[in-house]
């Protein structure tokens, strides 16, 4: 469904992504993990058109999307969910969700998607008329994901969903992400820590210093020596 082929990207004069190739098939939940500041976020932003790439090809649904603007990519159903959320702080939860359905494609399905978001996050329904700036960390994370779903997403690119959350909330968020995936939406997720998330992933990548250094199936990551060494300290 998503194919990233030999992509390079620079941040100013820093060469951040080095020949990165990643693919996600329909219905898969794929996790890229790796230490902070090694290009994971840059990769997601490059895929979603928020940052330009220097070379390489990205295709989504069989169509090339390299160099397309962010709004065109969202329109195709590939939606980015930011690590620092980027909600609209001065708007209510409902308004945030409604703006999620901005593209014409999403607008047509607005009521349906809103229903789905409430079903996933009943808590948001209670906060509907609260300003987004007043939400707790967990609620804000839910809203960010919910807003992404409002964009009629076929594919979610989720950046560090567990950042700054307590272990309990983190588990809830991961469970919901799995649920969304089971519902038929493909997911590419970026995490710093492999421990919990690797169990639910279909496949995993390890990214170090801008390169993919490991690629594995369902449980292979946890068995790989290098990965264990780096992330589990075993």
């Amino acid at each position: 469904m998503l194919e990233v082929d030999q992509v390079n990207a620079c941040y100013g004069e820093f060469h951040v992504l080095k020949d990165v190739s990643v693919r996600v098939s329909e219905g898969e939940l794929v996790v890229i993990f790796g230490p902070n500041g090694h290009g994971k976020s840059t990769l997601l932003k490059t895929i979603c058109g928020l940052l330009p790439s220097v070379s390489g090809r990205i295709t989504f649904d069989g169509q090339p999307i390299t160099g397309l603007s962010a709004e065109k990519i969202v329109e195709m159903g590939l939606v980015y969910i930011a690590e620092d959320r980027h909600l609209f702080p001065g708007m209510t939860v409902l308004q945030n969700l409604k703006l999620g359905a901005y593209t014409p494609h999403a607008r047509a399905k607005e009521a349906e998607n809103l229903e789905y978001v409430f079903q996933l996050f009943p808590k948001l329904k209670d906060r509907l008329n609260k300003n987004a700036s007043t939400l707790s960390g967990g609620e804000a994370r839910m809203l960010a994901i919910g807003r992404g779903l409002m964009s009629q997403a076929k594919f979610l690119a989720i950046d560090e969903p567990s950042l700054g959350l307590s272990p309990i909330v983190r588990r809830d968020v991961f469970r919901t992400i799995k649920e969304i995936n089971t519902g038929g939406i493909s997911i590419l997720l970026v995490e710093q820590n492999v421990a919990r998330i690797a169990e639910m992933a279909d496949r995993t990548y390890l990214m170090e210093d801008g390169r993919i250094v490991f690629e594995g199936g369902k449980d292979e990551a946890l068995k790989d020596e290098h990965v264990r060494e780096v992330f589990l300290g075993i």
């Binding site: 609209f88 308004q95 964009s151």
Partner: protein
């Protein structure tokens, strides 16, 4: 007689307030949404006034409703083109916010002097929107003032509805609050920027049509209105229509009284004084949201 004078001053203040509010909303729109401070906004006002003048008493002598509509449409495209030609190309570089300051200043130089080169220094006189007076219980109000107030209030109501209910308006608010967030949900930032400048220029055009008949039109007429609009924007808080309206009415009223009792030259100084006081006490303004 003192009572009548006071009422007259209040009326002058209210209509002036409507004009300042419209101008300040445009400035506040651009600053809040695009984070560009448009130093050429006074030139927008000036050109709005000259377009209206050309269409009315200058050359074409069109009926007034047509003058209003055509001026607003011209200014809308003027703002749109300005953003596309001068602001959009800057955004390829990091640190474009500083460059934007110089380019808006350079544009002010260009537009001011274009007006000077084309129309000369001689001030132009604009006719009132509608001639004549209303007489209500001994008080005389010019029809122009009544129309000014109606148009000003109508614009504020329309803008509140636009930002609160219309999808494009909400998208503009979204861009103002979090630009990256807006890109994530698929809001086309570049288009929003262009339309923001377009709307703001149209608003400057409206305020020019409303104010120009009461002052004369000359190449740098926009600067004084611009700085007053800026004070109104700061006083009311960037992004708050309600705050801008209240600030505009308060400041215009103060101006009307100060001008009457102390003389015309104190009009602008009083704005600067209010600005300094406001910024020291409450820099976010009365109702700042963005």
């Amino acid at each position: 007689m003192a009572a009548e004078q006071a009422v007259n001053l209040v009326i002058v203040g209210i209509t002036l307030g409507a004009v300042y509010a419209v101008m300040a909303l445009g400035l506040s729109f651009i600053y809040g949404i695009t984070k560009i401070f448009n130093y050429a906004h006074g030139a927008f006002f000036t050109w709005g006034a000259y377009f209206a003048w050309m269409l009315s008493s200058g050359y074409l002598h069109l009926p007034y409703p047509a003058v209003v509509v055509i001026t607003v449409v011209i200014m809308f495209f003027f703002g749109f083109g300005y953003e596309k030609a001068f602001m959009y190309p800057l955004r390829r570089f990091a640190g474009w916010d500083i460059t934007a300051i110089i380019v808006t200043l350079g544009s002010a130089l260009l537009f001011d002097n274009l007006a000077l080169a084309l129309f000369g220094t001689r001030a132009k006189r604009m006719p009132y929107l509608v001639e004549g007076n209303f007489v209500v219980g001994g008080f005389t109000i010019t029809r122009h003032e009544v129309v000014t107030l109606i148009i000003g209030l109508a614009i504020m109501v329309l803008l509140i509805l636009f930002l609160g209910k219309v999808r494009q308006g909400m998208a503009m608010k979204g861009v103002a609050q979090d630009q990256t967030g807006a890109r994530i949900v698929g809001i086309p930032i570049n288009k929003i920027f262009s339309y923001t400048f377009a709307i703001a220029a149209a608003l400057a055009g409206v305020s020019a049509i409303l104010l120009a008949p009461k002052i004369l039109v000359y190449p740098t007429v926009g600067w004084v209105v611009f700085i007053k609009a800026f004070v109104v924007m700061v006083f009311g808080g960037v992004g708050s229509i309600k705050g801008t309206a209240i600030a505009a009415f308060i400041l215009a009223m103060v101006e009307a009284f100060v001008t009457f009792y102390l003389g015309g030259i104190w009009g602008t100084p009083i704005f600067i004084l209010v600005l300094i006081i406001m910024l020291t006490i409450r820099p976010k303004g009365l109702f700042g949201t963005w």
